[in-house]
């Protein structure tokens, strides 16, 4: 069965780009979220196998959302996809429970590689 995914990013364009990449590679995108608050709600609702998480977002940022999702489900598989590649942020995200960190702009292969490492 296809692995399910939740895409989190504040821009519609990036959500569309990630959706296209995931669907082309056999993943099923079950929901999209535009900020960290929505991400937690959609995670609880859909329990996806995988989550992509932006960092800079309105309302609730990505690092906070990672912590909240991991608090709800310690097994959650989250990869960060962000333009902010600063060392301290990568460390914060990994400490919060993210499994990988992809810096934008990315090659589609880099996303798929990160997801495959998590769910085979």
């Amino acid at each position: 069965m296809a692995k399910t995914a939740l895409i989190t990013d504040d821009t519609a364009f990036m959500r569309m780009t990630l959706r296209n990449i995931l669907e082309k590679n056999g993943y099923k995108v079950v929901a999209e979220a535009g900020d960290g608050k929505e991400a937690l709600e959609k995670y609880k609702q859909h329990k996806p196998d995988l989550v992509t998480m932006d960092i800079t977002m309105p309302n609730v940022d990505g690092i906070t959302a990672i912590k909240e999702i991991i608090a709800f489900d310690p097994e959650a598989k989250i990869i960060v996809v962000s333009a902010m590649g600063q060392k301290a942020l990568v460390i914060d995200a990994l400490n919060a429970g993210a499994k990988d960190f992809v810096v934008k702009p990315f090659q589609p292969d880099r996303i798929i590689e990160a997801l495959q490492k998590l769910v085979g």
Partner: protein
């Protein structure tokens, strides 16, 4: 031309940081545009009277589209990525898959994400150089005449005696016939903070 605490040595440092940061931004833009060559001018650092900013953006009545960001970490900056309307159209068309139905939300979101990635790349470089963490606000649009973009700058930046310090770099993508500018305006106290992070007296 600058107040006496900003001597030539310090201006050189600002220029070099801008050069590295904006170099990172153009590399990011090039990667977004399928590795097309993105040329970049040497950054200019100037003290600009507020009323002269629209002229730098091409004239008060010229339609420009800008995405802007504030960095709210250890260094407070206002950062803009500005393009003419035709250039913005070409970038949006290139980045969207063919036959995508484009509405205003999607159009704006392409430009916001392109700006987000470029400004993110700038802040990543500056973070490394100053060994500090620089967070940015989510992108905002300033799609209007240059005169209105000026209003946005005026509201956000530190302005002393109607003047502000402006870092400007023009970029050009020949293949796609796109031209734009990256503008950075330091907020109050940011330059002093930056020099102290760099250990410059």
């Amino acid at each position: 031309m600058f107040e006496n605490n900003l001597d030539h040595g310090k201006i050189d440092i600002i220029k070099e940081l801008a050069n590295i940061g904006m170099g990172n931004s153009t590399t990011a833009l090039s990667a977004m545009l399928g590795e097309q060559k993105v040329a970049m001018d040497v950054p200019e650092v100037s003290l600009v009277a507020l009323q002269d900013v629209p002229e730098l953006l091409g004239g008060a009545d010229i339609p420009v589209i800008g995405t802007y960001f504030e960095s709210r970490g250890e260094l407070r900056l206002v950062l803009f990525f500005v393009m003419s309307q035709p250039s913005a159209d070409k970038v949006v068309n290139f980045l969207l898959p063919k036959e995508t139905k484009v509405d205003t939300e999607l159009y704006n979101s392409v430009l916001m994400e392109a700006g987000n990635i470029m400004i993110g790349a700038y802040l990543n470089a500056l973070s490394q150089l100053t060994n500090s963490t620089l967070l940015s606000t989510p992108p905002k649009m300033a799609a209007d005449m240059a005169g209105a973009v000026l209003g946005t700058i005026a509201a956000e930046a530190m302005i002393v005696d109607d003047q502000l310090i402006l870092l400007k770099t023009n970029i050009k993508v020949s293949e796609l016939e796109v031209e734009g500018s990256i503008l950075i305006v330091p907020c109050s106290g940011s330059l002093e903070k930056m020099f102290s992070l760099l250990g410059v007296r």
